[in-house]
């Protein structure tokens, strides 16, 4: 039967066009119109989502324009912030943002990896491990303003005597050179931040460790490695890049975190090497001053700060996302 058909021809099409009743192409009518409208809508909304990021950059740049024109790039290393004399410099805020986030990352990485190990290794029965992972992730759900409230009224009274002890014992080290620290300071902000970014670090590291191929672990065990030798020589190196990107996502969160830091960092524009001195961050100064700022140079300077923060987090996040994609490609 096949031989009777001419070769090199699309048989199904010949069949359909031969019989008008079998026209399967929908090319008119209500359903067709609806479908076209729907397709248009889908592309339109996807375009909206994509352009938000670009529009956001433009809008904030426009708000910042007076300050950008006035101060140029010198804004980044100027230290004055005097609203009365219309003098604005970003350095204290950039310094505070970077240092508090650095403290947070240094504290969070070991704790986050410990939680990830305890919940991904078989130390404990599975339901217990899942509960631990769940409870740690719950920290991410707590609004940051509540963590700030807890920081001021509960955490600072506990940590302040400790900080006083550190400062009286280790005053010869510049990092702790503060007479009688007040509790509201860079170190406190860093610790509070580390609590807030812990869920990100722990959850992603756990996912990374869980997908390390089973063969790697069994091979190490078969060679006589103990659990911790396996962890240090096999699991952690295998998951290294994944954990670096977890730390970077956590860093991105720490840089942009506003409320809790604003409430505990002490809000001082003096740059000080001592971690026990009050400091200030970019999000904190925006939160404190934006609502009451004068239109013009003050709003402009705050928006300029916002732009700096935006670029900073964008760089960290893009690096993290690219790293995750690169790792995913390497694994598959």
């Amino acid at each position: 039967m096949n031989e009777s058909l001419p070769p090199n021809e699309d048989h199904s099409r010949a069949y359909v066009s031969g019989d008008k009743n079998f026209d399967l192409q929908v090319s008119g009518g209500l359903n067709f119109r609806l479908d076209q409208g729907f397709t248009f809508l889908v592309y339109f909304f996807a375009a909206v989502t994509v352009t938000i990021l670009i529009v956001m950059t433009l809008v904030i740049f426009k708000e910042a324009q007076p300050a950008v024109l006035q101060f140029g790039l010198g804004f980044l290393w100027d230290q004055d912030w005097d609203t009365g004399n219309q003098l604005f410099g970003a350095l204290p805020y950039i310094y505070g943002t970077l240092v508090s986030s650095a403290i947070a990352i240094l504290l969070t990485v070991p704790v986050g990896i410990s939680v990830a190990l305890v919940t991904s290794e078989d130390f404990l029965p599975l339901p217990v491990r899942n509960t631990i992972a769940f409870v740690v992730e719950l920290i991410a759900a707590i609004p940051s303003v509540i963590i700030g409230l807890w920081g001021i009224f509960v955490f600072i009274p506990v940590i302040q005597p400790l900080q006083k002890g550190i400062s009286s014992l280790l005053q010869f080290i510049p990092l702790f050179n503060t007479q009688d620290p007040a509790g509201n300071n860079m170190l406190t902000a860093g610790i509070i931040l580390s609590i807030m970014i812990l869920p990100t670090m722990a959850a992603i590291s756990r996912d990374v460790l869980m997908v390390v191929p089973r063969e790697l672990r069994t091979a190490s065990m078969a060679l006589g490695g103990t659990r911790w030798e396996t962890i240090f020589r096999v699991l952690l190196p295998a998951g290294f890049s994944g954990m670096v990107s977890a730390a970077m996502l956590a860093l991105g969160r720490a840089l942009g975190e506003t409320m809790a830091v604003t409430m505990v960092i002490g809000n001082s524009t003096q740059i000080s090497l001592s971690l026990l001195d009050p400091a200030y961050t970019i999000p904190a100064v925006i939160a404190n001053e934006f609502a009451e700022a004068e239109p013009g140079l003050h709003i402009g300077a705050l928006s300029y700060l916002g732009l700096v923060l935006f670029v900073l987090t964008l760089a960290v996040n893009i690096a993290a996302v690219l790293l995750v994609q690169w790792v995913g490609k390497k694994n598959s």
Partner: protein, 289 residues
């Protein structure tokens, strides 16, 4: 075959670990457990302090009196209002962008680009989103308003909804789509009657996750919705919200106000935890199916 070597092999296998390796194991066990316990302390302490400090002055009248009469009803209403506006704005756009990613641009370069930009949007600091909403809504309407606050929250919710919707739609088996197409279903019919319908639990998970995130946000509301001591006059006027109430009043020297701040924290935390647990519960249920 030398039986002596065999025996020494057997002995070596049965031997306990050398002391240094044993010590290392115990030390690391201890260290990792101590560090993990450390992770629990803050959460336990936060929950305990909020409940113990806030519950004593929780009164029923607080739920219908505004702040000037020592209640927080106007802030509850403001938060619910702004979260509703944000949900109304972000759910259609987010779900449809998710549909775009999973149904229209699957495995293409455009998919990668949109996904990339969406995940970058997730990482934008919330205070920057607030400045964006200020520039778009507050400068246009010349008034701090619930609308501006809702708009800011919707930008925060949008990427969360988009990404979870895509994940949910990807879980729907391809043959269901093919079956629908084979029966003459158009793209629109297949998408809504087959794919979205079976992905509803997953999409709801994403939406409630996004609501949990938005309801607790303070930074984008401080200079978009501002605050108000009394009931708000409408959508285009300053509106109170629970998080901003806490931020504005935590420093108050008045012990009564201070008490109110802790009580407000209970309400805010319950609201956020409710949506967060709801999303987890729905997520688990949709995975089981």
């Amino acid at each position: 075959m030398n039986s002596g070597t065999d025996e020494s092999f057997a002995r070596e296998l049965l031997d306990p670990l050398p002391p240094n390796r044993l010590l290392f194991s115990y030390l690391m066990n201890g260290l990792s457990f101590i560090l993990s316990l450390l992770a629990f302390l803050p959460l336990g302490s936060i929950l305990w302090e909020i409940i113990s400090r806030g519950s004593s002055s929780l009164k029923l009248e607080m739920f219908y009196l505004p702040l000037i009469d020592n209640g927080f009803a106007n802030a509850i209403l403001g938060t619910l209002l702004m979260v509703s506006i944000a949900t109304l704005l972000s759910v259609p756009v987010g779900v449809i962008t998710g549909i775009f990613l999973a149904e229209f641009a699957k495995n293409s370069q455009i998919n990668k680009l949109v996904r990339f930009l969406t995940s970058i949007l997730t990482g934008v600091p919330s205070i920057v989103v607030g400045m964006f909403a200020y520039g778009v809504v507050v400068l246009t309407t010349k008034e701090f308003s619930a609308l501006a606050g809702g708009f800011a929250l919707s930008v925060i919710m949008l990427p969360v909804i988009t990404l979870t919707t895509e994940e949910a739609l990807k879980l729907v088996p391809v043959h269901q789509r093919l079956a629908s197409a084979a029966l003459g279903g158009t793209k629109l019919q297949t998408t809504f009657r087959i794919v979205v319908k079976s992905a509803i639990p997953g999409i709801t998970t994403g939406v409630s996750l996004a609501i949990a995130r938005a309801a607790g946000e303070t930074a984008p509301l401080i200079f978009t919705a501002l605050f108000s001591q009394n009931w708000s006059d409408g959508l285009i006027s300053p509106t109170a919200s629970l998080p901003v109430l806490i931020f504005n009043l935590y420093n108050s020297p008045d012990p009564k106000i201070n008490q109110l701040v802790w009580t407000t924290s209970i309400i805010l935390l319950s609201l956020v935890l409710f949506f967060s647990l709801l999303s987890r519960f729905l997520g688990r249920k949709s995975k089981l199916r």
